[in-house]
Symmetry: C2
Subunit: 336 residues, 2 copies
Amino acid sequence: MAVYTDVSDEALSTFLGEYELGPLVAFRGIAEGVENSNFSLRTGTGDYILTLYEKRVDAAELPWFLGLMRHLATRGVTCPQPVPGRDGEALRALAGRPAAITSFLPGVWPRRVRPEHCRPLGEALARLHGAGSDYAPVRPNRLGPDAWMPLLDSCRSSGDRVQPGLVAELDRALAHILPAWPGGLPRGQIHADLFPDNVFFLQGGSGGPGSRALSGLIDFYFACTDLLAYDLGVCLNAWCFEPGPRRPDLECPNLDFNVTKARLILDGYQSVRRLEPAERQALPVLAQGAAIRFLLTRLFDWVNTPDGALVTRKDPLDYLHRLRHLLAATPGALGL
Amino acid sequence: MAVYTDVSDEALSTFLGEYELGPLVAFRGIAEGVENSNFSLRTGTGDYILTLYEKRVDAAELPWFLGLMRHLATRGVTCPQPVPGRDGEALRALAGRPAAITSFLPGVWPRRVRPEHCRPLGEALARLHGAGSDYAPVRPNRLGPDAWMPLLDSCRSSGDRVQPGLVAELDRALAHILPAWPGGLPRGQIHADLFPDNVFFLQGGSGGPGSRALSGLIDFYFACTDLLAYDLGVCLNAWCFEPGPRRPDLECPNLDFNVTKARLILDGYQSVRRLEPAERQALPVLAQGAAIRFLLTRLFDWVNTPDGALVTRKDPLDYLHRLRHLLAATPGALGL
């Protein structure tokens, strides 16, 4: 659920009064997203998204995110554009939260990833990296490798309640991943959360019937300045695993890694930006790191969310399975 | 959260192929609603709502609901209209659920009820009752007084975990309400769930600046054939209580009853349909019954939803406070 803060009519009315968007026509909460509150907003001038930034977003960093979205658009990347108010300011406050209106992006995110989605995804990711290369402001990745051990430490006393032995297993995984983490790879602005629900497609791409045209990227609120190839590690986790046959010995749903999807993402990416040999070689550990990053933040949320709280808690064990697979597989078995 | 079932791209594509709505342009989950999965859908021909009917809706009753919505529209009540496919059929299946597309209704539901909303609400409710009077099919109220004791029985062993003494308090309340329940009042098609999030308003009604024009009613999936004045009992619960000053002695948020809002709802209603004296006299017990109906279904969901399930559980104690107030107040103190 993605409405954590609701907005009174008066507050919305006053807020919209600061824009030149005409009268309010419709206003509904959007179910997608887990970090911020999102609403679809229709006014006399068209459709927009209203976002209230919730606690995980640092208000001081919002200008960086909105600036990146504007910058990317000038470089041809389709993404939501901040809509300024009469005073030229896009970032203001509503219901006690920082808030912004952005443009509405047509398209549908893929509920089930198919191979046809993967090459366009890789191409778009590489174009995003290219377009971000001259966006100078730096935002460190607050959920990068330096954050993982502190995150695990904060779950040390209760993590095994999710699964016995989990904390020790993650200690071993970090002992493997952190020393192997690559240092000197190309860096730049990365999305860092490019899951299927952040990538929109329209029917009828140029590839004939059934093909998909990628229509835009959304949700840049984890974007940061980090290793470009780490974004591929995130995508390998988020786009290439698919439900496999039931395995009664597993405590979590069985997931198979689809090598074809991985190859299509890489091929698409490299058709726009060629990976350096060191980046290519680092992909397995980058994918392992991405798995543990999502596992740890989900674990943190799981053990720190009170029962009955109206918040979507995603199962950390989904990522334990991915992590194990990525640690055990040879690069060839991952299509890398 | 109101997306319980997600829809694969292929299934959606096949489904839309059965309509004449043009290409899919956008598809997003809607946060509002707790019973069914709702999506906002944009195609080449405009905006629609796609609803997947979840387990609490009996598929066999869907033609009754869709028929009522069509009937009401022909009588001038603005509500979502079922959109037929090429075969003329509005009700079909998607992702293993019964599903229908309905028209998109502009408007915004009031996040905070103001007195200005209440008279238009009463008028619309009375018009709904009038418009439904020649819709012949009957649907019994499955959450009417006959259902309350069985609901309480199903929570008897665990209800006191929500609050010590709760089950005994509800037993006493039912012992008061059920024998007083009126029998011979005018009956007809009622909405039975007319909460603020089911009533849309547009800015700029005829009442001058700040006024609100009611633009339509949605979510008829609790509608049934029952006492017309019971709908007023629901509205008194759903529209007239507002947050009061914090009271440390209360285990739930303090709620004050706003008599002005109650009077405006009744005035609006009676400007369209005059209540019979017996209906008017029954309003307090009808409001008490409505309070216990929502309390009991929330209590049932509360004790029967596993911790961690991704379902919005609404706090039953909100309605315990309403129930106590409605049982204790004189009709005059309720504006009745």
